[in-house]
Subunit: 496 residues, 2 copies
């Protein structure tokens, strides 16, 4: 690892985020909520931190793909720290751990909150919460489509060739190309959603916040009652559509915007994602009809909203699914693990991995009956190399181990079983609400501080496809780290 280059990039990123921290200031001024100073102070601290890192450490043009692990992990840790500062200075949060939890939940597009009442929070803080989602979503699209495939993480190599643009050897140029293209798509779709939500009667503030939260599959709302506050079928329909869009591989949207609409249907992952949403909604509608709902229309509306909200790992609520029958809850928990498509802002294991996993299970059964047949797994028309399949299975292996250890660590803090297990599932898959004490109408505020810290790690690890964070915990990785060169140290040696 080239530590100096990594820290230099981190510095640049902190500077950039300091600029973003200035964005809620107009909101604060319009609504007179007195939060201007909190944002200014935070931006200043961020600029100082970023500036110092850039001043101390020179950029390293030899930054390779392996350094991507450190860049990604430290970036999100740094982002969440800067993002927590405005919350901290606002005085609306009980402790810094809570601020960091909320900020990490924002930047990882998780949407778990420690707040019990949104309405008492200053408007500019609500705006900042939503903005952290949007920035995080931007980051994750580039990370998952430009960086992770090159690192060969858990089968993401499949998408290596999918993005347009030259495949370069160095990390930075490749990232910049992809970022430019995809952020254009991301910004465009965000604008469309804001306008559509405003047509449904939302003001610019609510429309922006909810568009940020849905396109990042985050889930922070400006109301305690989440989307059900509006009680509008139109608004719910718009949000369902854009959550679904956000859970789709953004490469597909890029191609569609260039007139190649058939890419959606050509993508086996997209077809499976659509089928999952349709079948799960149907099962839940049938299970709830007559028990929870008397009206088919309300039933379908709530079921589809909740299924899309959960599978895309957004976590917006319109119904308290903790009261639904156990079958529905288990199905929703299963969807929590599946998550969105690869290359979307959605979290979870990803639809494509689940699909490969199921194909592998089927192949194994076939092998027992026809032991001498040579079988390959296909994805669309492409043969999946065994290396990729091994990567996917390895991802699942690490995922299960990590999830189990996190559950034990959280419940060791005295949290009850359902709360602890679903809190881990909800944060590791970047969803938001769990069940029981962290259920859809509850929040994470009452958990012990150490449990919150573990859940923060879960959010980070889940967001960065696990490997990125876990690999930093292996001694092997650090053995390869080089001692950072300092800028001034270099100059001193030159002056001799």
């Amino acid at each position: 690892m080239r530590t100096d280059g990594v820290l230099n990039i981190l510095g640049k990123l902190l500077l950039l985020i300091s600029l973003f921290i200035l964005l809620p200031i107009p909101v604060s001024l319009i609504y007179h909520d007195g939060m201007t100073r909190a944002f200014l102070t935070s931006a200043l601290i961020g600029a100082l931190m970023g500036g110092s890192l850039i001043a101390l450490f020179p950029p390293n043009s030899e930054l390779g793909y392996r350094d991507g692990f450190a860049v990604a992990t430290f970036s999100w840790l740094g982002l969440a720290f800067l993002g927590a500062l405005p919350f901290f200075f606002s005085g609306s949060f009980p402790s810094f751990v809570d601020c960091y939890f909320e900020s990490m939940s924002g930047f990882t597009t998780t949407g778990s909150t420690i707040l019990s009442n949104m309405e008492i929070l200053p408007r500019s803080m609500l705006f900042w919460r939503a903005l952290t989602h949007w920035i995080g979503g931007m980051g994750i699209i580039v990370l998952s489509l430009a960086v992770l495939p090159l690192l060969g993480i858990g089968g993401m190599q499949l998408f290596q060739a999918e993005m347009p643009g030259p495949t370069k050897e160095r990390l930075a140029p490749r990232m910049q190309d992809t970022a430019r293209i995809l952020w254009g798509v991301y910004v465009l779709i965000t604008f469309i959603e804001i306008i559509l939500l405003m047509l449904g009667g939302m003001d610019l503030f609510d429309a922006s916040c909810h568009a940020f939260a849905s396109l990042a599959t985050g889930g922070f709302s400006t109301y305690t009652a989440s989307v059900s506050e509006f009680n509008s079928p139109y608004i719910e329909a718009v949000i369902i559509f854009f959550m679904f869009v956000a859970g789709t591989n953004f490469t597909l949207h890029y191609h569609a915007l260039h007139g190649r609409w058939r890419v959606y249907w050509q993508s086996e992952e997209f077809r499976f994602y659509l089928t999952l949403v349709a079948v799960s909604s149907l099962i839940i509608v049938l299970a709830n009809q007559g028990r929870i709902y008397q009206s088919w229309l309300t039933n379908i509306r709530d079921a589809v909203f909740q299924v899309v909200s959960i599978i895309t790992t957004t976590g917006f609520g319109t119904a308290d699914f903790d009261k639904w029958p156990a079958l529905c809850k288990i199905l929703l928990v299963a969807l929590m693990f599946i998550g969105g498509c690869a290359g979307s802002t959605g979290g979870g294991i990803k639809v494509v991995r689940m699909l490969l996993f199921l194909k592998y299970a089927r192949l194994q059964l076939r092998k027992l009956v026809h032991p001498n047949e040579v079988n390959t797994i296909k994805m669309g028309n492409i043969k999946v190399p065994q290396e990729v399949m091994l990567g996917v299975l390895g991802f699942l292996a690490i995922y299960i181990v990590f999830c189990g250890l996190a559950c034990m660590a959280v419940t060791a803090q005295g949290v009850d079983m359902i709360t602890g297990v679903t809190a881990v599932i909800a944060t590791l898959n970047n969803i938001g609400p769990g069940l029981n004490a962290v259920g859809p109408v509850q929040n994470f505020g009452a958990l012990p501080a150490l449990a919150k810290v573990i859940l923060i790690i879960c959010m980070l690890a889940g967001r960065l496809e696990l490997y990125t964070v876990v690999v930093l915990l292996t001694p092997d990785f650090w053995k390869m780290a080089r001692r950072p060169k300092l800028r001034n140290f270099k100059r001193l040696s030159l002056s001799r």
Copy 2:
């Protein structure tokens, strides 16, 4: 599949079990519980069924390894049917589904019961319950060490070369060789346990029943309060030891009995199994001390008993672990999945598979740091072929899918979430008790009939290493089935 040969073997097996059904008759006569007729009738029905199958279908000397899937599945289904008959004729069970559940739970060495009060059951019925465990345990040792390795199920090929005796191509001779050797070991250890339990004050009846249940890692007790009825540290220590022995690969015991004691320590699976027991017990002791227990001695005694009882999938109870802290419960649930060693009477995923799984996860992390290094996974001193590793991962894939679907199917019957999920885990891993409504001091009696049927399938699938049962559900398997030849049909054509 050679259907005629399979049915012929099934007939022979039913005849054999009819003889076993006569064994509780002396017990019935000694205790004057009036159950003699129930056993005689059942044995007669079994003999008639078995006789008819043998009369109708000729043996097929060409029976190959693939036919093993059908032989195993139909054998256990048939065993459970015959085993349910005495329960049914006893009049002590509410319905035939309950009898079949209890019988399948016995023969699969699960130990889940639908009975709420053991003390009112006739003594000979209690004896028969325990005997079903013991017979099931015998069956599973041969199946897992002689048949499954040859079928190449989920990494069990690793044990192919471990058993002494010639490796023949046909199914039957290989099974007979292995059966002779291992049953000798099994019977010998059973006798030793009976004697040791009687030294602790148990009468012959209780000692036999508890020895049967612990060596088969079954878990049926003759008392509602299970092993805690005796409240004897000596008896608990004996049972802990023999449960632990039963959860070990019986090949190791065979070698040890021939003076090669070091095999235990040479087995990496055994070392990991021992470590798991020790570490889990320690964690539970530390978590419970001061909260659940004031005395260290009682704490350690209950913790070790429960850990060994759960990891070996026996399911005997001395403490109501449903009242333990969430951490302990999650740890116990994790142990439920791990299960015993391969080639033991224990259920679950098996220690060796978990070990390979963890090694694979670690290898994947190493690959990210050193992408060009060629790494292999070793088990002891043996390199694990990639084919075996793929088999293990495939087993886990099918296991997860099956477990998820079963949970949904059970909760769809209106069972609450924790009860439904832990009922599936407890039966699929052949443990016995779950949590909540099927917790250690509860029973499965109150579940809806359809839920019981699903759990019966779980017990069977779990016991037969999943593949054996699931492969029968694929159309591919049945495409290869040949139309059975009937004996009389053959003779008729000869007489022409």
